[in-house]
Amino acid sequence: MHRAGAGLTPEFPSPIERLDSIDIITEEAAVQMPGAQTTRVTPLVQEGDLIAKGAAVACLRHAPDICLVAPIAGRVAQISVIPGRRLSEIVLFREDQGGIQRHGTVSSESPAALRRLMQAAGVWPWIRRRPFGGMPAPNEAPAAIVVMAADTRPYAPSPMQALEGREEAFARGLAALGQISRGPVFVCWPRGMPAMQLPTTIPDVRWISCGSRHPQASPGIRIHRDIPAGLDTPVWDMHAEDVAALGDLLETGELPMQRRIRISGAGLREGRSLRTHPGADLRQLTQHIVASGPHILMSGGHLDGRAARWLGQRHRQVTVLPRTAQQQRRHWLIHALTKSATLRPVIPTAALTQSFGAVLPAPALIRALGAGDSEAAMALGALSLLEDDVALADYVLGAGGEIMLQLRSLLDHIQAEYAG
């Protein structure tokens, strides 16, 4: 009980997993903005160009230092930009003769050079900032950086497993993050595991142990508990595997793209753990393991996933669900008896408190979100939270995504109002 800590263990059906770890580089891949962000970009390549793995394919219009890079070597097949020069996706066809992009390694003494390297090599989209989410601004100095070496989402791949044998690279990455951060670097690791023996001691790294129940290792919940994000005190979070990749980049000048992911869900014949790259083609990854019948491919986990064709920039889970048939139109009286136009009120129960890891007064926060009361929500710590962190509460309450939408619109409102 004490070891598992507060939280819940939601269960989802998924077939047994075959225990092999294979590396897959998909024949097609796409470069997208992280999350659901749409930002103005300047494409740096043209359709038909042959590009190296890790080469920049686009940069942000208002921050040209920040590049989006190709996860595989290949030929640019299509650049889709939606109105307003916002990037939809850049599709690449794999061609291995494209080679690999190398960057000059920087001396670890200069934070400015380190930032430039991280932005040019494509590490930046793997960082998420709070409040409001998305990539940080190019010269933003965070009040703290939280590195997630634990993941309690159902069917999430174990970050500790991904770090095995990469301790040196991880330590190098942590040291680099320590230079960028104004404050400490927190590392969240699963309780019960021995603390990692880092080859070098890094100042200002603090270890936080997380229980095994969700949302113990949800970044927003940890940030809310230990170092709340504020309007002028942004907090970044980064996955431990990406930190190890950053360490490799600093050593070799080449950013490793492969990451450990896990495919699960009721629409599969068997689960799979494998290593692939961001922007991988989900159809190819699931080709031989989906069950027959219509299904939905989702990038992300059971709680926070969204239907997608490509693996998201920060996602490490693929979820396949059977597509259920559209419901018949029912009689209006039945509809009125079972559904209301507005979201039904949330009843404060122990399940609601636990779905926020018992770190905050959950009923008050849910009420503030429902009423759109930005001041109360900010006082309760909504600035530390993003949609992923309330995904469990949304699921537990059966709100069907409504609470995530409420949080997003409230954050957008706060951003326009206070941080304009």
């Binding site: 709340p228 559904k339 009120p345 129960t349 537990v396 309450l397 059966g398």
Partner: protein, 260 residues
């Protein structure tokens, strides 16, 4: 997308399930006459829910089962059909439905209905709790707190302070029994009780304090009358307890982190 089960209707049904031991013992000892009263209460509430569904598109809720059980168990006897219907209608409409249905109400509709009946028909005798029925409140409280639909902090504070008050002899035994039944039926309602841990402890403490005060000073009052009055007053104070607890929480976080 799959969904979790803790929506409003499941919580209402779980609360009702937790109260089933109490309801079963009550029907067992009071006889089947009470079944008629229970169904009549349920019918009146259902009609009002239907009216509000058609007039204001408010979906009805299974919480009517809990409300009906509480009113049927605790309402004064010999009211007649008109009096009972009138009281239930007032409580359910003014206590719950005008606020937007169960989950948006600020006072428990059953508490409002019972208080209204108590003040409106002072001559009607209040029921007397049978001892086994009072004992059945214990499994109801255990079930409710285990399922998480009754606030555990409130129930535990009330039980602890109530035990202290009863053991020192300032609370008479019939009042303790009535207060226990009212605790699970009315006070430990997840919606109208306080929502923070500290607020819940204070809410429970105020309930025990009011029951003790009324038990000592309100001569001629029936045990259930005392407990219902204490439940009403303490639930009116619950939002201020929550406010206080939130202020303390925010203050504590400001001191610790410099921000919230």
């Amino acid at each position: 997308m799959k969904q979790g089960l803790w929506n409003r209707e499941t919580v209402a049904l779980m609360t009702f399930a937790a109260l089933l031991p109490l309801g079963t013992f009550w029907l067992w000892f009071e006889g089947t006459d009470m079944l008629v009263r229970l169904f009549m209460t349920l019918l009146v509430i259902a009609v009002w829910q239907l009216i509000f569904m058609l007039a204001r598109a408010q979906s009805p809720s299974f919480s009517c089962l809990v409300t009906a059980l509480a009113i049927a168990m605790l309402a004064p006897e010999e009211l007649g059909v008109f009096g009972l219907t009138f009281g239930i209608s007032f409580g359910v409409v003014m206590g719950e439905l005008v606020f937007g249905g169960w989950g948006r109400n600020v006072v428990n509709p059953a508490t409002v209905a019972l208080a209204f009946l108590g003040f409106g028909f002072p001559a009607a005798p209040w029921p007397v709790a049978e001892v086994p029925v009072a004992w059945a409140a214990i499994p109801a409280a255990i079930l409710g707190t285990t399922l998480g639909v009754m606030p555990a902090a409130l129930v535990m504070t009330t039980v602890l302070l109530g035990a202290v008050a009863a053991s020192t002899g300032i609370l008479a035994e019939p009042i303790v029994q009535a207060a226990g039944i009212v605790l699970v039926l009315l006070v430990a309602d997840p919606v109208t009780s306080a929502a923070t841990t500290l607020g819940r402890c204070l809410h429970g403490a105020l309930y025990v304090a009011l029951v003790t005060l009324f038990g000592l000073g309100w001569s001629g009052a029936a045990p259930f009358q005392i407990a219902v009055a204490a439940a009403l007053l303490s639930s009116l104070a619950a939002p201020s307890f929550d406010e206080l607890a939130m202020k303390l929480w925010v203050h504590h976080r400001r001191r610790r982190h410099g921000r919230t």
